[in-house]
Amino acid sequence: MTPATRPSINPKQLRKTLLIWAIVAVVVILGFQVGWSTIWREVFIRPVLNALLFLYAHLGRSFVVAITVFTLFLRLITLPFQIQQLTTTRRMAAIQPRLKELQERYGGDRQRMAMEQQKLYREAKVNPLSGCLPTFIQFPIWIALVQAINAMLADTPIELMSLGMSVYRNLGVIPSIIPIQNRFLWLNLALPDPSPVVLPILVGGTMWLQQRLMTPPSTDAQTASMNQTMQIMMPLMFGYFTTQFSSGMAIYFIISNIIGIGMQFAIDRIIKPADLKLPETVTAPPATREVIHERKKQRRKAKR
């Protein structure tokens, strides 16, 4: 391989990759040494549970207030990622016509297609994978939160035992607040909604609205259809699951969705379309079939 063709190594990129792999290696080694369940409990469940208990103890001993403040805090922490996600989705939407053009032009040549796509992403400053990052980051916290809420509301001895094993000993106020006040309006927060309609509708409705606000319009028919399916299926499924969840969990979903809707409005105000200006080369209108045909003709001519 000649020096000219050897791929150049970006030292910054290399450092980043090595760091990621080092973290992965440490996590894997720790997982096998200490146990995955221990890591999961110590890194996610216990901090989340104790934070919730702390908020509950100091904010009027109200589960709903504690959950609201915690969710707000969580959303604020992940706000930069959410903004990044939104920016990415909007930029992706903006370059959709160009991507379609590339598909038409290089559909048969996968390697070339990939190269051109990468080039386009670079020019548009888009990393398609970065759109998933906020979800990946929030996912373990979300599951931990669900488990923490179950343990916190402790309706059974097994759950109370799990709570007892997870409470930090130096949070002195804890013994006096257990068991958590599980009454809210007509609900026992540890059990599903006795009227199996109100909470499922609220969960499904707020989720649908949030998704509708968050999903950008797509020019690609297949993506649009997929988005549409998601927008209907997810709220329906979560509405059904709410009939099985403890109502405390349903309350969390509603609060989380409402905060999400509010934040989406705020982000929409912060990031104006002007902030997402893309280079003209990127947003140039897609070539028509005739233009593409003409270009191919010219290339053939040039080869000759």
Binding site: T156, M161, M165, P179, A190, P192, M249
Partner: protein
């Protein structure tokens, strides 16, 4: 192709979310109860955490009877067998009347089985879950419910009749009550201990413990010993409910204290077993075990036998507190062992019953149920 892709996408979404939710939902899926057992006349009566009730010969482990006869299959798509379903989650140790064995369930029931045959004699439905066990005196049975009520029942082979029920507590009662000649005393998650008249359930005294009382309480001469979430064991005067002494530990005291030969033995959730003077609460010895000790110990000759949430089953010398590992099981031990001679029976949360010889350290179980087939 598009339709196929879309269907595939929806299918993956539904399956992933289904799996996720089944792992997160608390009710049903993660509320199997504990495997609890008690021995009466050399027969061990156990409720497994699958809802199955069995009577086993304590010496050999041979099955006398099993309820229900057809067992429901587990998994996502459960098939309900014909006839009686398994019991809902059971947390309290079974108790005995002359002819019956009784178990309290999460779905508010007291279920009675004929000891000799395993036939279901009757069910009594309370207004709240029956989490703790019951206490029996002749035909009378006393229990607390998750509705905060204390129930007094008169039982026979034919059925149960409510003598009285009192809304004693503002929160659930998960522990087993204790009886004196004229009182029934019970702890509640509402932080209080209540003493009620046995005759009619009228309140005699109550005492604020400052933290939830999740477990059973114990009688020790003229004292009642109460553990709880406040990391301490408190001795109250039976007559008045006044505090006589308190012994502070590092974690919750959930397991029932055990009084033997002028010493109180009690475990705490940080995996310690403590021996105390019942008159002063002074510590005689502490022993550290591996894993949380949810339940109290059982007496086996000169030893106490106790299981932990890490599956370790220990025998501990009563005199010195020296602990030796009898056996390490795959499942967690969350309920009190039962003893018959030098044999101790332990229920695990993987739905097994192990019979161990207390004279042999580190040996294999004498028998286990269900039997392991090679």
């Amino acid at each position: 192709m598009k339709v196929k892709q879309r269907l595939g996408f929806v299918l993956i979404l539904v399956v992933s979310l289904g799996l996720l939710v089944s792992g997160c939902v608390s009710r049903g899926v993660s509320n199997p109860g504990w495997t609890v057992l008690a021995i009466n006349q050399d027969i061990a009566y156990a409720v497994l955490n699958t809802g199955k009730v069995v009577a086993l010969d304590a010496a050999s482990g041979s099955e006398k009877w099993v309820y229900p006869i057809a067992q429901a299959s587990g998994g996502l798509f459960r098939r309900q067998p014909a006839g009686d379903p398994p019991l809902n989650a059971v947390y309290g140790v079974p108790v005995f009347t002359d002819e019956l064995v009784l178990a309290g369930t999460y779905d508010n029931k007291v279920v009675a089985f004929v000891q000799a045959t395993g036939l279901k004699a009757w069910e009594y439905v309370a207004q709240g879950s029956v989490m703790g066990g019951m206490v029996v005196d002749g035909e009378q049975v006393y229990l607390g419910g998750s509705d905060g009520r204390v129930y007094a029942l008169k039982t026979s082979a034919a059925g149960a009749e409510l003598l009285w029920s009192t809304q004693a507590a503002k929160h659930a009662i998960w522990g087993v009550p204790v009886l004196t000649d004229d009182l029934v005393i019970v702890g509640s998650l509402d932080h209080y201990v209540y003493a009620l008249k046995r005759a009619d359930g009228e309140l005699v005294w109550d005492h604020d413990m400052g933290a939830a009382v999740a477990g059973d309480i114990t009688l020790a001469d003229d004292l009642v010993l109460v553990g709880g979430v406040a990391n301490k064991l408190t001795a109250l005067e039976i007559a008045s409910g006044d505090v006589v002494w308190e012994s502070q530990f590092k974690q919750w005291v959930w397991g029932e204290a055990f009084l033997d030969g002028g010493v109180v033995y009690v475990s705490s959730l940080d995996g310690q077993l403590h021996a105390l003077d019942p008159r002063t609460g002074e510590t005689k010895w502490d022993t550290v075990l591996q894993g949380a000790a949810r339940s109290g110990p059982a007496l086996a000759g000169d030893y106490l036998v106790i299981g932990t949430a890490e599956g370790n089953i220990y025998r501990v010398e009563k005199a010195t507190g020296k602990a030796e590992l009898l056996y390490k099981s795959a499942g967690r031990i969350l309920s009190r062992p039962a003893v018959s001679g030098n044999r101790v029976l332990v229920g695990t949360d993987s739905g097994q019953i192990l019979a161990l010889d207390t004279t042999v350290v580190g040996g294999a179980p004498v028998w286990q149920y269900p039997a392991v087939t090679k």
